[in-house]
Amino acid sequence: MDPAQTFESTRPLWAVLVSLLAIPLIVASDRRPNLRETWTLLAAFIKFALVASMLPWVLQGREAVCSIWQISPGIQLALRVDTMGYIFALVASSLWVLTSLYSIGYVRGTNEHKQTRYFASFAMCLSATIGIAFAANLLTFVIFFEILTLATYPLVMHKETPVAMAAGHKYLSYTLPAGLCLVLATAWCVSTVGNVDFIPGGFLTSGVASAATLRWMFLLFILGVGVKAGIMPLHSWLPAAMAAPTPVSALLHAVAVVKAGVFGVLRVTGFVFGPDLLREIGLWTVLAWAAGITFTVASLLAMRQDNLKRRLAYSTVGHLSYIVLGAALFTMTSWTGSLLHLMFHATMKITLFFCAGAIYVRTHKENISDMHGIGRQMPFTMAAFAVGSLGLAGVPGINGFISKWHLAQGSLQADQGVFLGLLLLSGLLNAAYFFPIVYVAFFRTNKEYPAYGEASPLMVVPLSVTAIMSLVLGVAPNLGAHAWDLARAAAAAVMGGSP
Amino acid sequence: MSEALSGLLFDRWPYLLTVVLLLIGLYGMLMKRNLVKKLIGMNIFQGAIILFFIVHAYKHGASVPVHSAVLGDAPEAYMNPIPHGLMLTAIVVSVATTGVALALLTVIYRRFGSIDEGELLRRLRDRE
C-alpha cells in the first residue's frame, strides 16, 4: 500500500477543542439548565459534523496532520487523522450526540445534583477521547490519556454516596499507577529512539534495544493501557465504577474510557511495536492468553451478577478482550475483526446501558430478579435490549456477528484453534447471561407492578437509534460510514500487506 | 610527636582554636535548650569563622596595608586587607542577625513566658 498522503489541516484540532470550548459556556449557564444543555448538544453536533466531514479524506487515504507546537524538545504536540484513529473518533463523537440527548432525559428524570459539573466533565472527556484518537505520537497520546483519566473521575464519583466515593478511589488507584507505567514506558521510548511518532507497523525495531529491554517496555505499556482496557487482573475498577449514573456508564464505560484503553492496546501493538517485533520477542502469546482468559472468566462472572449494570460491566470486560485478542493474533482478518468490534460493540453495549438507565429512571430497579414482566411495560426499551444482547451473543443479522466472525477466522488463520474454541465458549456464555434477562422481561409477569410505561422520548429515541444501528450494520456493515472498509484499511496499514 | 602535629600545635594553633570554637558554637546551637544559649552558641560559631579569616590574613612582621616608601613594594611587607574588610562586613551581618534574634526572643518571652525550647515546642504542638 502506498504511504498515506498527508496534508495540513486544523480540522482535527477543532474537533478536539470544540467540547473544551463548550465547558466555560456550560459552567457559565449554571443557573439556566436549558441553555446549558443547548451548549452540550451544540458542541456534540459540531464535533460529530467535524469528524464526519473528515470521512472522505480517510476513505481516499489522505491523512490530515496538525502540529500544534513542541511539547518536549524534539516532540510535537501533534494530531493526525489516520484510519484507525478515525474509527475511534467516529464512534465516540457519533455516540456522544445520542448520549447527550439521553443524558438530558436521565439527569432530569432522576433529578441528579450538580448537573453542571456533570455536563462539563462529560465535555472534557470527549475532548480527551478525540485527542487520544487523533494523537500522532506517543507523548500526545499519553497527555490526552491522562486528561481522560482525570476528567472521568468526577463522573465516577458523581453521586457522592460512600459507594460512589469508594468507586472513585478505586478508579484512581487503578488508573493513576497505570498512567505512570505509561509515562515511564513513553519516557523509555523517547530515551531509546527519540522520535515517537506512531508508524503503522511499529516504530520500534529489534535493533534499538535488547530483547529483554523491549519486553519490559511492552509490559509497562500493557500495564499502562491495560487497566482502562479491563484486562484481568486489572479490571476490577470497572464493575465498581458502575456506581456512576447510567449515561456515564454508557458512554464512558462502554465507549470512551474503556475503548480508549483498547485503542491504546491497538496503538501499542500495531504502531509502537508492530507485528514483526512482537513475534520476534514472543510476547503476543502472553497478551492473547491474557485476553482469552479474561473474556472467558468475565463471562462466567457476568452470569453471577444480579445487578443489571454490573452484569453489563463484566460483559464489557469480556468484549474488550475480544478486541485485544484480535490485536494480539496479528492477522489481517483478526485486526479487521478487532476494529469492527471496537465499533460494533459500542453500538450494542451503549444500547444495553441506555436500556438499563431507562429502566432505572422509570422503576428505580437495578436487579434483574426484580424485572419480571418489564418487557410488556416498556416494549421499545426491552426490544432494543433484546437486539443488543442477541448481537453481543453473536446472532447473525446483528453487527456483533460480523466482528466475531472475523475474529474467529483470524484465530484460524493464525493457527490458534484454541482461541476459536474460547471464542465459541464465550459466545455461548454470552447467550447464557443475556437471554435470561430478555426471558424474564417478556415471559414472566409480576402483578405488583404499577403500569410504568416507557421513559421519556429523550431516552427512548437514542436507545432505539443505537439498536437500529446495530441491526442495520449487521446486514450492511458498509452503509453510511463505510465501517467495514475503514476497518480493513486500518488493518492493512498495520499488517503492511494487501487487504 | 610527628612533624605535622607539632606544626599544627605550635605554628598553626590559631586554626586549632578556630576548630574548638566552631565545635563549642555548634554544641550550643544544637544541644542547648535555652534559646539565649543557642543564640550565644551562634555568636561563638560566627566568631570562630571570623577568626579563621583573620588568622589567614595575618603575616608575621607585616604592616598595615598602606603603601609607604620605607616598606617598599614587596607584598610580604603588608597585611592582606581583603579578609579584614570582609570580616568587618561579616561582623555587621552577625550583629544584625543577633539583633533580629533578640527581638524575636523578646516577643517569645512576652507571649509564652519562657525561653526553654522543650517547653516552647510543647506549647507549639498543642492545639488551642
Binding site: 511539547i71 524538545p73 509515562v183 515511564l184 530515551s191 | 603575616k59 607584598p75 592582606n80 507549639l124
Partner: protein, 523 residues
C-alpha cells in the same frame, strides 16, 4: 598544604584575568534590577510612617519596576549573552561584579513574577490580617527580595554570603509576622539558617585560602585542576551542607514545617516559593559553575549523596504530608518533597536532569505560591485552617479553588501541567543514566502526592460539610476579593501555560542556562 598569601595570588591573577573580563558585555541592567528594590526599601518605611496606606503603592511600583528590569535583563541575555556590571567601576577579580548569565536572569524573573503577584494579593490580605503589620510586611518583603535578587545577580562569593544574610534577615522577620507561635518557629529557623550561611562562609574561606580570590569565574578557573586539594574538597562539603540546610534538603528539613505553618499565609506565599529555590540556585551555581562538575560531582560521591538524600526527602516529605491535618502544614511538608525533586536533579547532574531541576524551580514556585495564597484566602474568608473544614468550599469560592485545583494537579504531575514536565525531564535524565530505582521512585512519589491532594480536592468539591452549622454561618458565596483571587488565578493559569509551552521555555531559556559543555539531546 601550602597556604599562598592572598595578595600575591591576587596580584598574579589581576593582570591576566583583566583581559578575559573585558570580553563579556558590560551593561547597566544588572544594577538597574537592584535599584528599584533599594529605592523601594528606603521609601516604604518613610512613606509608611507618614501614611500607612502609602506602603502598598510604593511597594507595588518598585516591584513593577523590578519586574520590568528583570524581564529586560532576561531578554538582553537571550539576545546578547552574559551581562556584567562592575560595582564602583572596580574591575574583577578585585572589585565586586554583578554577573548575569541565563541562569541568573531566569531566576531573577521567577522572583520578580512571584513577588509582584504576592504583593498584589498582600495589599488586601495583610490589611485584613493585621493592619498594623502593613508597613513592616512590605518593608521586610523588600529586604528579603533585595537579598535574594542580590544572591542571584552577584558574581562574588562573599557578596553572595552578605546577600544570603540580608535575604535571611528579611525572611526571619516576615516569618515572625503571623500566628502567635510564629516567632518561636522563626527563631529556630534563624538558628538553622545562620548555621547554614555560616557553613557556606566557611566554605568560601577555604576557597579563598586556596585561590586568593572571591570572584566566581576566577575561582573556578583556579580550582579547575585542584581536585585533589583537600582544602577544596572540604570547602565543597561545607557548602553543600550549608546550602542543603538552607534549602531544607532531607534530613536537614526539620526547621521548615513549623516555620511555614505558623507564618502568615501572605508571608509563606512569598517565602516558600523562592527562598529555598534561591538556595537551590546557589547550589547549582557552586556545583556546576564554580567547582568542576566532572571531577567534583561525578568524581566524588557528593552527587550521589545529594541525589539519594533528596530522593529520601521526596518520599519522607510526601508521607509526612499525607499524615497532616492542617492545610498549611501539609503544604509545608509538600515543599520539603518538592524542593527535593530539585535536589534529585542537581545530584544526578546530567543535562536533562538539570533542565528538570531548573524547570521545577520555576514550576514549584508558581504552584506553591498559588497553594499558599489559597490557604490564606480560605483562612481570611472562612476561618478554616484544617483540611476537614475545607469541605464544600469549592462552590463558595469557585475561582480561588479553580486556581488551587490547577496547582494541585500540577503538583501531582498530571499532563499537560508544568509539574508533569519537570518530572518528565528528571525521568528522562534518570533513564539515560540507567538509574532505574530513582526513576521508579520519582514516579511512585507522584502517587503519594496524588493521595494528599486528591483528598483535599475531593473535600472541596464533593463532601458536604460535616457540621451543618458551620455551613449556615457562611454566606452562599465567600469568594475572595478580586485582588486576592486574581493572583491565584494567574498562577493557576500559569501552571497550564507553562506546561503547554515548556518546550519553548526549555529551548529558549533553560537549555541555555546550563553550564558550558552541557547540551540537551533533541535540541
Amino acid at each position: 598544604m601550602t597556604v599562598p598569601a592572598g595578595s600575591e595570588t591576587l596580584a598574579h591573577h589581576g593582570e591576566h584575568m583583566a583581559s578575559a573580563f573585558d570580553a563579556t558585555a558590560q551593561s547597566q541592567l544588572p544594577m538597574l534590577v537592584l535599584i528599584p528594590l533599594l529605592v523601594g526599601l528606603a521609601l516604604v518605611p518613610a512613606l509608611g510612617l507618614l501614611r500607612r496606606r502609602l506602603a502598598y503603592p510604593t511597594t507595588l511600583i518598585s516591584l513593577l519596576a523590578f519586574l520590568y528590569y528583570s524581564l529586560r535583563t532576561l531578554f538582553a541575555v537571550m539576545a546578547h549573552g552574559e551581562l556584567e556590571y562592575s560595582l564602583a567601576a572596580w574591575k574583577p577579580p578585585i572589585g565586586i561584579e554583578l554577573s548575569v548569565d541565563m541562569l541568573s536572569a531566569f531566576m531573577v524573573s521567577v522572583i520578580a513574577v512571584i513577588a509582584v503577584l504576592v504583593a498584589i494579593y498582600a495589599s488586601v490580605a495583610v490589611r485584613r490580617e493585621d493592619p498594623e503589620k502593613e508597613v513592616p510586611y512590605f518593608a521586610t518583603m523588600l529586604v528579603m527580595l533585595l537579598g535574594l535578587t542580590g544572591m542571584v545577580l552577584t558574581g562574588d562569593l562573599f557578596n553572595l554570603y552578605v546577600f544570603f544574610e540580608v535575604s535571611a534577615l528579611g525572611g526571619y522577620a516576615l516569618m515572625a509576622i503571623g500566628h502567635k507561635k510564629a516567632p518561636v518557629a522563626a527563631f529556630r529557623y534563624l538558628i538553622m539558617g545562620t548555621l547554614g550561611a555560616s557553613l557556606y562562609l566557611m566554605g568560601v574561606g577555604y576557597l579563598y585560602v586556596v585561590t586568593g580570590s572571591l570572584n566566581m569565574d576566577d575561582v573556578a578557573a583556579i580550582i579547575m585542576h585542584q581536585s585533589s586539594n583537600p582544602a577544596v574538597q572540604v570547602s565543597l562539603i561545607l557548602m553543600v551542607i550549608g546550602l542543603g540546610l538552607k534549602m531544607a534538603l532531607f534530613p536537614m528539613h526539620l526547621w521548615l514545617p513549623d516555620a511555614y505553618t505558623y507564618a502568615s499565609s501572605t508571608s509563606t506565599a512569598i517565602i516558600a516559593p523562592i527562598m529555598t529555590k534561591v538556595s537551590a540556585y546557589v547550589l547549582i551555581r557552586m556545583l556546576f559553575f564554580v567547582y568542576d562538575t566532572e571531577t567534583f560531582l561525578r568524581g566524588t560521591p557528593v552527587g550521589a549523596v545529594i541525589m539519594w538524600l533528596a530522593m529520601g526527602g521526596v518520599i519522607v516529605g510526601s508521607i509526612m504530608a499525607i499524615a497532616q491535618k492542617d492545610a498549611k502544614r501539609m503544604l509545608a511538608y509538600s515543599s520539603v518533597a518538592q524542593v527535593a525533586y530539585i535536589g534529585v536533579g542537581i545530584g544526578l547532574g546530567t543535562p536533562l536532569a538539570l533542565v528538570g531541576a531548573m524547570l521545577h524551580i520555576l514550576n514549584h514556585a508558581i504552584m506553591k505560591s498559588c497553594l499558599f495564597l489559597v490557604t490564606g484566602s480560605v483562612a481570611l474568608q472562612t476561618g478554616a485552617t484544617q483540611i476537614k473544614d475545607y469541605a464544600g468550599l469549592g462552590r463558595k469560592m469557585p475561582w480561588t479553588f479553580l486556581g488551587f485545583t490547577l496547582a494541585a494537579l500540577g503538583m501531582v504531575g498530571i499532563p499537560p501541567t508544568n509539574g508533569f514536565f519537570s518530572k518528565w525531564y528528571l525521568v528522562l535524565g534518570g533513564i539515560r543514566e540507567g538509574e532505574w530505582v530513582l526513576v521508579v521512585l520519582i514516579l511512585a512519589s507522584s502517587l503519594l502526592t496524588a493521595v494528599y491532594f486528591f483528598r483535599v480536592i475531593e473535600r472541596i468539591y464533593a463532601k458536604v460539610p460535616e457540621q451543618a452549622t458551620n455551613d449556615a454561618s457562611l454566606p452562599k458565596t465567600a469568594e475572595a476579593p478580586l485582588r486576592m483571587a486574581l493572583p491565584v488565578l494567574i498562577l493557576g493559569a500559569g501552571v497550564l501555560v507553562l506546561g503547554l509551552f515548556n518546550a519553548w521555555l526549555v529551548s529558549a531559556v533553560i537549555a541555555r542556562a546550563l553550564p558550558a559543555g552541557m547540551h540537551v539531546p533533541g535540541l
